[in-house]
C-alpha cells in the first residue's frame, strides 16, 4: 500500500454501445427484434456516426455502434489533493466519476483507491418523497456511506446546516426545490470519507447556499481529504482545486494547475484561436476593394498570445490588403465577453491615416487595449473594415480571434487581495481617494 497516493487510475477505458447505452459483451435477444424493426434505429446510427466523427482519434470497432466514453485515461491523485475535472458535456467526466465510484465497471484498465470513498453524483441521493426530512437524512446518509452512529452524532449539525429545522418532520415531497437541495447538501456536506467524489451538484441551489457549500468543501479539504470535483463553474474549480484535468473526447487533454487548465478550457470552448489567417487571397473575407489576410492577438513583445496577464496591454492586429486605392478607411474591432455582452467597439483613429486615402498595398493595423482595463475571462474579437465615403463595409468577421485574460492575483491588479469572483465585463484599475477626519467634532461632510 502506498502512503501518499489516494487514487491511481491506470489506463481505464469504458465502452458503451450507442442507442441502448449498454456495455459490450452482453448478447441480447432484443437484437433480433431490433434488426427487424431497424428503421427507427437509423437515426441513432446517424447520431453515432456524428459522435464518432468528433472522436476520430479513438478506434471504433468495425461495424458496431460502440463508442469509447473513456479511453486510455491515467492519472494519480496524491492524498489530500483537490482536483477539478472539467470539460465539455459528453466528454466522459461523469463516466469517469461513475467508474471511480464503482457504479459502472470499466471495460479495461485498473483503478486503485486507498481510503473510504463518498460519492455525490446527484443532489439528494436516495431521497424518498414520502419520507420526512429527518427520515431522509438517515436514508441518504446511509446510502452515501455514513454509519448510523455518525449520522446520529452529526444530526443536530446537519439539520442546523440545512436551515430548515421547522420542516424537518414534513415529507420532502412538500418541500420547495430550494429546501430539498439544502437538506440534501447538508447531509452530503457531513460525509467524512477519505476521498470525496463530487459531480456537478453545486449547480443547483441559491447563490448564498452555494457559497456556504463551497466553504464547507474547503473545510473538508483542510481536514486533509482528497476531493475529485467535476464542475462547469471555472470560478469554483480555480478557487477550490490546486490541479485540474481537462477531459474531452474521452481522454485527458490537459493536466496541470487548475487556473491554467481552466483558462485553456475556456479558450477551447470558444473554438477560436488567437490567430486566424487567410493564405489564399481570393477566398479571404472582403471584396474587390480590400481583403482581410490575418488577425491575431499579440503582446507587447510581438508574440501571438492566447492568455494575457490582466495588467499587460494586448494588441489586436489586423493585416489587410487594399486592392483598390483611393478610399478613406476605418479598421474596427469589437470585443465580446463570453456572455455575449459587447465590451466595446472601437475604430482606428491613427492620425496618420485618419483622413487620408489609402494606396493599394498591405496594411497592418493594431489596436492596443491598455492593461488593467478588461476583466478576467475569455474575450471574442470581431473585426471589420469600412470606407467612410462612400459608406461601405469591405469585410466584417465575427469572432475572428479570441483570447483569455488571466489574473495571477499578485495584489497589484484591480482584484487587489480579493480572490473571489468579481462581476463586470471591465475591471479598470481606478484611482481611489480617501478623506479622513477624526470623530471629535462630530461627522462633517467630506471636502470632496
Amino acid at each position: 500500500m502506498s502512503d501518499d497516493i489516494a487514487v491511481r487510475v491506470d489506463n481505464i477505458g469504458k465502452q458503451y454501445r450507442i442507442g441502448t447505452r449498454r456495455a459490450p459483451g452482453t448478447v441480447m435477444m432484443r437484437e433480433v427484434l431490433t434488426d427487424l424493426a431497424a428503421a427507427p434505429f437509423r437515426k441513432l446510427r446517424a447520431l453515432a456516426r456524428r459522435l464518432a466523427a468528433g472522436t476520430e482519434t479513438l478506434p471504433q470497432p468495425a461495424g458496431a455502434d460502440h463508442i469509447w466514453a473513456l479511453r486510455n485515461v491515467s492519472f494519480t491523485v496524491p492524498r489530500g489533493q483537490v482536483i477539478g475535472i472539467i470539460g465539455p458535456n459528453g466528454a466522459g467526466k461523469s463516466t469517469l466519476l461513475k467508474v471511480l465510484s464503482r457504479i459502472t465497471e470499466p471495460t479495461e484498465g485498473r483503478v486503485e483507491i486507498h481510503g473510504r470513498v463518498g460519492s455525490l453524483l446527484e443532489v439528494g441521493t436516495g431521497f424518498h418523497p414520502e419520507l420526512t426530512g429527518l427520515e431522509n437524512v438517515f436514508l441518504s446518509g446511509a446510502l452515501l456511506g455514513m454509519r448510523k452512529v455518525e449520522i446520529e452524532r452529526n444530526l443536530d449539525e446537519i439539520v442546523a446546516f440545512s436551515e430548515i429545522e421547522k420542516f424537518i418532520d414534513t415529507p420532502v415531497k412538500h418541500y420547495s426545490s430550494g429546501m430539498y437541495v439544502r437538506l440534501a447538501f447538508s447531509v452530503a456536506a457531513h460525509l467524512e470519507p477519505e476521498i470525496l467524489i463530487v459531480d456537478e451538484v453545486l449547480a443547483v441551489g441559491d447563490v448564498s447556499f452555494q457559497r456556504k457549500c463551497l466553504n464547507k468543501m474547503e473545510d473538508v479539504h483542510q481536514h486533509g481529504r482528497t476531493i475529485l470535483f467535476v464542475s462547469h463553474n471555472m470560478d469554483a474549480v480555480t478557487r477550490l482545486c490546486e490541479r485540474a484535468l481537462l477531459i474531452s473526447h474521452g481522454g485527458i487533454q490537459k493536466d496541470g494547475p487548475a487556473s491554467d487548465v481552466a483558462s485553456a478550457y475556456l479558450l477551447s470552448t470558444l473554438k477560436t484561436d488567437a490567430i486566424q489567417e487567410w493564405p489564399i487571397a481570393e477566398t479571404a473575407p472582403g471584396n474587390a476593394i480590400a481583403r482581410l489576410r490575418r488577425v491575431r492577438v499579440r503582446d507587447e513583445a510581438g508574440a501571438t498570445v492566447e492568455n494575457i496577464d490582466v495588467r499587460q496591454p494586448v494588441g489586436i492586429e489586423m493585416v489587410f490588403d487594399v486592392l483598390t486605392p483611393g478610399r478613406v478607411m476605418a479598421p474596427s474591432v469589437m470585443l465580446y465577453a463570453r456572455s455575449g455582452t459587447c465590451v466595446f467597439s472601437a475604430h482606428d483613429l491613427d492620425p496618420e491615416w485618419r483622413q487620408r486615402q489609402r494606396p493599394a498595398g498591405s496594411f497592418t493595423a493594431t489596436a492596443w487595449i491598455p492593461g488593467n482595463l478588461l476583466a478576467e475571462g475569455a474575450l471574442l474579437v470581431s473585426c471589420g473594415l469600412g470606407s467612410i465615403r462612400p459608406l461601405e463595409v469591405h469585410f466584417f468577421v465575427r469572432e475572428a480571434v479570441a483570447f483569455n485574460v488571466t489574473d495571477p492575483g499578485m495584489g497589484d491588479s484591480a482584484r487587489g487581495d480579493w480572490d473571489g469572483s468579481i462581476p463586470g465585463v471591465v475591471r479598470p484599475l481606478l484611482k481611489w481617494q480617501t478623506a479622513y477626519r477624526p470623530l471629535s467634532g462630530g461627522l462633517i461632510e467630506g471636502d470632496a
Partner: protein
C-alpha cells in the same frame, strides 16, 4: 503507518482502522458473491428495508390493514366459490381455515416475488448514482414483507382459535421455518427476475401470470392429497408446496408431517437462491449501463 494514524487523528475521521484499498477492474464471467461486503453494508440493508416498510402504507387510509385484507379477501372468495360452490375437499379442516392457513404464507411469497422482481428497475435512480452491493435491493424488498406476514399471521391465529382448533404444540415451531422457506423461495426467484428485468422489461409483464400460475400449482385452494405419489414428491419441487403443507400441518394438524417433499422443497429453494445470487453477481456489472 504512523503518518497515517496522525492524519486520521487530525481529521477526527471515524475510521481508526488502516485505509481500505479498493481495486476496480473489469470482471469476467462468474464472480464471487462477496458475502463479507454484504455484511459491511448491513446498515444500508436495514435502511432500505426500513424505507420500504415506512413508505408502503404512507398516505393510505387504513395503512397496514391492507396486509391483512389481501389474504383475507382471497380467502373469502375461495371459500365461497371453491369451498361452498365447487365443494373442493379440504382434508377435514373447515375450508376458510384451510385456505387462509395457506394464503398467509402465499401472500408473503407472492408479494415478495412481485416486489423484488421490479425492485432494481424501481431503484434505477439509486443504481446509477451511488455504489452499494446491488444484491441488497431485492433482499430488502423481500424482507420488508415480514411485518405483513406477522400481522396476517396474528389474524390467522385468531381464526384458528375462533374455530376452536388452536393447540399449543411443538409443531408450531415449524412455522418460522416454513416462513423462512417461503422467504428463501421468493428471494431466489426475485434474484433471477430482478436481474433479468433490468435487461428485459418483459419480466415485469410476465410476473403477474407467473404468480397466478404458481398459485394454482400450489395446494392453496385444494389439498395436495388429491395427488398420488410419486407425483406428490415431484410436486414438492415447487417449494411453496412444502411451505403451504407445512403451515397447515403445524397449525391445523392436517395432512402429513414434514417429510421427503419438504426436503425436496428446501433443496429447490436453496438451488434457486444460490444460482440466483451467482447469476445476479454476474450480470450486475452492467446494471448501471442498461437500467
Amino acid at each position: 503507518m504512523t503518518q497515517e494514524a496522525t492524519s486520521e487523528a487530525l481529521t477526527a475521521a471515524p475510521l481508526l482502522t488502516p485505509l481500505v484499498t479498493t481495486v476496480i477492474e473489469p470482471a469476467h464471467g462468474w464472480v464471487p458473491l462477496k458475502v463479507r461486503e454484504l455484511w459491511e453494508y448491513r446498515e444500508v440493508l436495514y435502511y432500505l428495508i426500513w424505507r420500504d416498510i415506512k413508505v408502503k402504507y404512507r398516505q393510505t387510509l387504513i395503512g397496514a390493514t391492507w396486509a391483512i385484507i389481501q389474504p383475507l379477501m382471497t380467502m373469502v372468495v375461495f371459500s365461497v366459490f371453491l369451498g361452498k360452490l365447487a365443494k373442493v375437499p379440504s382434508d377435514g379442516v373447515p375450508y376458510p381455515l384451510f385456505a387462509f392457513a395457506a394464503l398467509v404464507p402465499w401472500a408473503f411469497f407472492a408479494n415478495g416475488l412481485t416486489q423484488s422482481a421490479s425492485s432494481l428497475v424501481a431503484s434505477g435512480h439509486l443504481i446509477t448514482k451511488v455504489y452499494f452491493p446491488r444484491l441488497l435491493v431485492p433482499t430488502a424488498r423481500v424482507l420488508s414483507g415480514l411485518p405483513d406476514i406477522g400481522l396476517s399471521f396474528l389474524v390467522l391465529l385468531g381464526l384458528v382459535a375462533a374455530y376452536g382448533r388452536f393447540e399449543l404444540s411443538l409443531s408450531l415451531l415449524w412455522l418460522p421455518a416454513m416462513a423462512a422457506l417461503a422467504l428463501l423461495t421468493a428471494f431466489g426467484i426475485g434474484l433471477w427476475l430482478s436481474a433479468l428485468n433490468v435487461q428485459y422489461r418483459d419480466i415485469q409483464h410476465a410476473v403477474p401470470f407467473l404468480v397466478q400460475i404458481w398459485l394454482f400449482a400450489t395446494p392453496i385452494a385444494y389439498p395436495s392429497s388429491l395427488l398420488a405419489e410419486p407425483w406428490r414428491t415431484i410436486y414438492g419441487l415447487n417449494p411453496m408446496v412444502g411451505v403451504v403443507e407445512g403451515f397447515r400441518w403445524a397449525l391445523l394438524g392436517s395432512g402429513r408431517p414434514p417429510g421427503m417433499p419438504l426436503v425436496v422443497s428446501t433443496a429447490a429453494a436453496l438451488v434457486l437462491v444460490v444460482s440466483g445470487a451467482f447469476f445476479f453477481r454476474r450480470v450486475e456489472r452492467t446494471f448501471a449501463d442498461v437500467i
